[in-house]
């Protein structure tokens, strides 16, 4: 019941994050956009048990895939297969990392969010290069990838603080590292 509640809360947050990140202004000077979805995703897959985490990763992939879907001449440029592989892969990696630290930690969540953002944007760029041809890599491309990844590192602890009270309900307090302060 509690797991279902967290799952539903995370699903709601996932949908809201997609709509909300569109309303946020760009980050100066080049107006890079904040990515909230990877932060919610990283929290979800680390907080949930394995099978619900995999379902959550799949739903994240569907949401991200549909949000970015562009059909050109009857062909979907970025379908659902690549996002599904990407998010399932990261879900397994983050679950393993979470197990290794005997529970979720805010540092791990921040690092995970940043890495997911970095690889998501970098991966999208490479897929587009493979599909459209050419690799026009320059400083602005690097900034468009690096700035949202760095921003995710800063935003992640805020989400962790907001939702951490829900996590022990799911994973069991005995599985969490005994720790005081910001981490649990």
């Amino acid at each position: 019941m509690r797991r279902s509640l967290l799952f539903l809360v995370l699903l709601f947050l996932l949908t809201v994050s997609v709509a909300f990140q569109n309303l946020l202004p760009g980050i100066p000077p080049s107006q890079e956009r904040l990515q909230l979805l990877p932060v919610v995703f990283a929290f979800g897959v680390m907080a949930l048990p394995l099978v619900p985490a995999l379902w959550f990763a799949f739903l994240t992939a569907v949401v991200q895939g549909l949000a970015l879907l562009q059909v050109q001449a009857g062909d979907a440029e970025m379908g659902l297969t690549l996002p599904v592989v990407f998010f399932l892969g990261w879900a397994i990696v983050l679950q393993m990392a979470s197990e290794m630290t005997r529970g979720m930690r805010w540092e791990l969540h921040a690092l995970g969010s940043s890495l997911v953002t970095l690889t998501l944007l970098g991966g999208e760029f490479l897929v587009l290069c493979a599909k459209r041809g050419g690799v026009p890599w320059d400083l602005s491309v690097s900034l468009r990838i690096a700035v949202p990844a760095a921003a995710a590192l800063l935003i992640a602890p805020l989400l962790y603080l907001l939702l951490r009270s829900l996590v022990p309900l799911v994973r069991g307090a005995e599985a969490l590292p005994k720790q005081t302060g910001f981490g649990r």
């Binding site: 309303l23 956009r33 990515q35 549909l66 949000a67 050109q72 990838i145």
Partner: protein, 265 residues
């Protein structure tokens, strides 16, 4: 592993395989449904954003009035505040008259729409507008402002549509250069930075900065002829053709209202 977990895992695998087999048309239908889900959140978020914007405007006015308090008499301050208010109303009035005038002057049937959000996708340039299929919008309709071409509609839900901006690499428009016979293909870059590239020009074309570029309106195309795309910033010859860099006529960053071209008058 418990039986329930195995069942959930098998169900996940089956769902993934099913979703990955969907064709582009099915995915576009799914996206329309997804936009329908996002619509209330986007509309509420936009309303909150506008509210916050108005609040900050009010605070700025208060700050200005406070700064003036030290310098002017109370009566003078009241009159200045009143004048500021009237000037804002005059600006709003002028803007609305301009928008209305363009709609009436235009030779197209135009449906006004409000921009709800500028999408956060890094490699795609899209916006969402507050009109959808119930207002008569369909995919591949041109979207313009009184300044020029903005883009075209892509995914459409009942009351929300996604518009691919002309600065997106995938939004290709047949274009012609004012005062010449030069025609080419205009599109944005992979890394949307606000400029347009006009390619497939004659490499000997003598284009000068400031020349205007319009849609060419090829038969069977989406965009009608004569809509402003931008002005030439620079031109250089490549190995096989010439390429011009354009400053877009309609700057997408400050867009608040647009018109969807639903047909010709």
């Amino acid at each position: 592993m418990k039986k329930l977990q195995i069942t959930a895992l098998v169900a996940l695998v089956v769902t993934i395989v099913t979703f990955c087999m969907f064709q582009a048309g099915t995915l576009l239908h799914l996206k329309s449904g997804f936009l329908g889900v996002l619509s209330p959140i986007a509309r509420s978020g936009n309303a909150v954003k506008s509210g916050i914007g108005n609040l900050s405007k009010d605070l700025m006015t208060l700050d200005q009035l406070e700064a003036e308090y030290d310098r002017v008499l109370a009566e003078n301050r009241r009159l200045r505040a009143e004048n500021n208010g009237l000037r804002d109303l005059q600006q709003d009035n002028d803007h609305l008259r301009q928008v209305l005038g363009y709609r009436e002057r235009s030779s197209f049937l135009l449906l006004p729409a409000m921009v709800l959000s500028h999408d956060a996708g890094v490699w795609w340039s899209t916006i969402k507008i507050n009109k959808g299929s119930k207002d008569g919008i369909a995919p591949d309709m041109p979207v313009i402002t009184d300044r020029g071409l903005v883009g075209k509609t892509t995914a459409v839900s009942r009351d929300l549509s996604e518009v691919m901006l002309v600065t997106d690499e995938n939004c290709k428009v047949a274009a012609k250069v004012e005062g010449t016979k030069e025609q080419g293909i205009c599109a944005g870059g992979r890394n949307p930075g606000g400029e347009l590239q006009l390619t497939f020009l004659n490499k000997l074309a003598d284009l000068q900065p400031g020349q205007k570029v319009y849609t060419a309106g090829v038969s069977g195309g989406i965009f009608p002829s004569g809509i402003s795309l931008g002005t030439v910033k620079s031109f250089h010859a490549r190995a096989l053709d010439g390429e011009a860099v354009l400053e877009p006529a309609a700057d997408a960053r400050g867009l608040e209202e647009v018109f969807v071209v639903t047909g010709a008058k």
